[in-house]
């Protein structure tokens, strides 16, 4: 009988660990401990700073994705928003051909234009989805194609250099970028956990019909979620553009699956109603650790993609296990 009892308690402990908010963080710790001995330069301060710098913009985009996923949607247009905002901002402020070149207003104006543009694309997505009842997947996929095409066409696929140093510092200096990302993270966290908007968002993700019958302004909340996602993608564009000191129409084109992968690894559900800022942070951290360690091992890009795919699959497996355990313990 005692064998059964210890078996049970072991399973309860395992279940509790799996269901904990910090599960993915523990996964990160285990991963680092397992990989560091074989990976030269992985556990160094330089490398940690490097990971942090590449993690921050990804985290900011993933925050927006988290909001949209909680509402039961998906936003595939984020990469096009990043490219479009990057070149628009650069067009406004670059020192050669910029509309406001050398003006003291150049940087603030460029930032305002970028954020507004991101919000506008988000609003377009949200309105198309709620007013015309189109599926989020297809709306944001179409937006991604159209707006990234627009970005390439506007610049004739040329990058724009010569950006003001003050702007480059925003993304280039890790301390400033860290401040911006933290502010965004705390802001979204408060929104989700403490505000009326957050309550409504989760309710809509769980059951939009019930939310509507209970007087939740469903369309307004969903549009706001896409607007937030657009603005956060624009904020990430500011960081990325600053890091590369270049306005590029194809900036961030490859990060779409990283963003969705990291958010879902963190524990946010693709079916809506479930997600937290902390989860997303850990998901992004995990993905970046894997990315970075594989890079350091000098694996070819193909091997890297294969291993990354396997890791994401493994995380998804753990997540489904987690969901099942949560269900049996309810």
């Amino acid at each position: 009988m005692s064998g059964v009892a210890t078996d049970r308690s072991w399973r309860t402990t395992a279940a509790r660990a799996l269901c904990s908010d910090y599960f993915v963080l523990w996964l990160c710790v285990v991963y680092v401990a397992a990989v560091a001995p074989f990976t030269p330069g992985f556990a160094s301060l330089d490398n940690a700073t490097n990971i942090l710098a590449t993690l921050l913009p990804l985290f900011v985009v993933a925050l927006g994705q988290t909001l949209v996923l909680i509402a039961g949607g998906i936003d595939l247009s984020i990469t096009s928003i990043i490219g479009l905002c990057s070149i628009t901002g650069a067009m406004v402020m670059n020192d050669e051909t910029g509309w406001l070149a050398h003006s003291p207003l150049a940087v603030p104006a460029a930032i305002a234009v970028m954020l507004a543009l991101g919000g506008l694309v988000g609003a377009f997505n949200g309105v198309a989805i709620t007013r015309f009842r189109m599926p989020p997947f297809i709306v944001t996929l179409a937006a991604m194609m159209a707006f990234s095409g627009l970005a390439v066409w506007l610049t004739q696929s040329k990058a724009i250099n010569q950006l003001p140093a003050a702007f480059n510092a925003l993304g280039g200096r890790t301390a400033i970028a860290l401040g911006i990302a933290c502010a965004a993270g705390v802001g979204v966290h408060v929104m989700l956990s403490r505000s009326l908007f957050g309550r409504w968002l989760y309710a809509i993700g769980h059951n939009a019909r019930t939310a509507h019958v209970s007087g939740v302004p469903v369309a307004g909340v969903v549009i706001s979620a896409y607007v937030c996602s657009g603005v956060l993608a624009a904020l990430a564009a500011i960081l990325y553009t600053g890091q590369t000191e270049t306005g590029s129409p194809v900036l961030g084109q490859r990060i779409l699956l990283d963003v969705i992968g990291a958010t879902v690894i963190g524990g946010t559900s693709l079916f809506g109603g479930k997600g937290k800022v902390l989860w997303t942070l850990f998901g992004v951290l995990f993905l970046k650790l894997v990315d970075n360690s594989l890079n350091l091992l000098n694996l070819s890009i193909f091997t890297l993609t294969i291993v990354k795919g396997a890791v994401i699959l493994l995380a998804a497996l753990l997540d489904s296990l987690r969901t099942r355990l949560a269900g049996s313990h309810a």
Binding site: L196, F197, R199, H206, N207, T210, S214, P217, H329
Partner: protein
């Protein structure tokens, strides 16, 4: 006994995370007999049937099926053993045809080829549909069937798998009176063919009409069993709830005031409702009776702004609503407990607390950022939990889907009570709710009326309306066809008014 019993349960016990839901359940379903299984929600009926159906393995005890030990590891084992389960929530694919649904796991094949033999499929489905008395083409999409017709398709499926023991879990909850009649005729035919049945229901009249034997479950244990003739209805009820329920409906203390809470003036929507006029007074419980499809739920949805209306005026507390959307109507004091609890009443996976707060959370938002005042919110939640007498076993953070039907309905009612409505519309408030919780729900509804709200109750159970209402309106074919005050109440009159008139040929 000459023939072996259809199934014998012997000491079945089951626990979920330390909570015992079944303890030593033993009873026998005789060959070719029909056994009624009754008990409050959460008594363990569904768990027991899941064990029989191979969805769950019991911790202790054994089952004997027609003389053979039976321990299903998987639902297909149950199917192979000749057990058919007709679920409360029907398990059909609405995007497939009747034939495809029936033969989903055993399509007749063209010989040795992986193609489906369409002709055999068609013929066998047609034969089965004839058996269950459903006059429809086998290639009709299930999407287009009514709840009653779907039920018959499920039964046809069980028959196609040669079921010798069929379990019915609350089969009549979503059926109209006529469909129920058809179902009962079919069940009697199955009985005469020697098929054993387990019939689970809250409607004791039905159990009495159909069953030979009765088993009453309470808190996971058998508290009474025997031939149905040996039980009186009050005896069954007191065995179910474990106390003497002397009355099924609470006594009405208050009386309606004179000022109107809701005035409906000539509301019309083509093909849905026609020129609806009535006044609901403050403190009044007004019933809306009628057959399924009479337009009652549709009227409620129009009143709440969920569906459009082309003509007419609606006034709440004397002021017109004038095209307000659902959210504004809630602010104006309307509340609507919908018929479909799972899809429109609750966020099943969200916590009890979040569900309770959903309609009134706006009033707890402070500062321009609309942050939630968590202390006030928490206080409101615990007050309302107490007010609706929600089971103390459930934590605030537990998902709503873990509650029994009655407690789920209390959560939905609590959600609306928190919004302090001046008009509460309830559509089938006690569907799938057990006897004890029903009484509590009625009491809550009457208390709200006594505090001055107007209540509109839609129900298909005429007895229920007679038990709780001050006045009853009867709808048929989208019109109000009768109005009855308390002294005039009788099921015969209400039913007569509800029957559709012959349309001129």
């Amino acid at each position: 006994m000459s023939t072996a019993a259809a199934v014998e349960f012997d000491g079945i016990g089951q626990s979920f995370s330390g909570v015992r839901v079944l303890r030593g359940v033993s009873f026998t379903v005789g060959a070719s007999r029909t056994l009624g299984l009754v008990g409050e929600n959460g008594a363990g009926k569904s768990t027991l049937m899941n064990i029989l159906g191979g969805n769950l393995r019991s911790d202790t005890g054994r089952m004997i099926l027609r003389g053979q030990p039976y321990a299903p590891a998987h639902p297909t084992d149950a199917t192979r053993a000749g057990i058919g389960l007709i679920h409360q929530e029907l398990n059909l694919f609405s995007n497939l045809t009747i034939a495809e649904n029936i033969f989903l796991t055993s399509f007749p094949r063209a010989r040795a080829l992986p193609w489906i033999d369409q002709r055999t499929l068609h013929a066998r489905t047609a034969a089965l549909l004839r058996d269950v008395g459903l006059e429809l083409a086998p290639d009709t999409l299930v999407d287009r069937l009514s709840a009653g017709e779907r039920q018959l398709v499920e039964i046809a499926r069980a028959l196609s798998l040669d079921a010798r023991l069929i379990i019915f879990d609350e089969p009549t909850t979503s059926l109209s009176a006529r469909e129920t009649g058809t179902l009962f005729a079919l069940l009697r035919r199955l009985q005469s063919q020697g098929i054993a049945l387990i019939y689970i229901s809250h409607i004791l009249d039905h159990v009495r009409q159909l069953c030979h034997d009765l088993v009453v479950l309470r808190d996971g244990a058998v508290v009474a069993q025997g031939p149905i003739e040996t039980f009186s209805t009050p005896a069954i009820v007191s065995a179910m709830v474990g106390r003497n329920l002397t009355q099924l409906y609470p006594t009405r203390r208050g009386a309606p005031a004179t000022e109107p809470a809701l005035e409906v003036r000539g509301v019309s929507q083509p093909h849905i409702v026609c020129d609806i006029r009535f006044t609901l007074r403050r403190g009044e419980v007004l019933g809306l009776s009628g057959l399924m499809g009479a337009g009652r739920s549709e009227l409620a949805r129009i009143l709440f702004g969920l569906d459009p209306c082309s003509r007419g005026e609606i006034l709440v507390s004397g002021r017109p609503l004038a095209g307000a959307n659902t959210r504004r109507r809630i602010e104006r004091g309307l509340a609507f407990l919908t018929e479909d609890r799972r899809h429109e009443g609750l966020c099943l996976e969200a916590s009890i607390a979040d569900n309770l707060a959903l309609a009134s959370i706006r009033s707890h938002a402070r500062t321009p950022l609309k942050l939630i005042d968590r202390t006030g919110w928490q206080r409101a939640i615990s007050t309302i939990r107490e007010a609706v007498r929600l089971t103390a076993k459930a934590e605030d953070t537990q998902p709503a889907q873990t509650l029994s039907g009655g407690n789920q309905q209390k959560v939905v009612l609590g959600k609306w009570l928190l919004a302090s409505p001046s008009v509460l519309i309830l559509d089938e408030p006690t569907r799938g709710v057990d006897v004890g919780a029903k009484f509590e729900l009625y009491q809550l509804i009457m208390d709200l009326a006594d505090r001055g709200s107007g209540i509109l109750v839609i129900s298909s159970e005429i007895e229920e309306l007679i038990g709780v209402c001050d006045r009853i309106l009867v709808m048929s074919q989208g019109e109000i066809r009768g109005e009855f005050s308390r002294p005039e109440f009788s099921s015969e009159r209400l039913l007569a008014a509800a029957l559709p008139r012959e349309s001129p040929a």
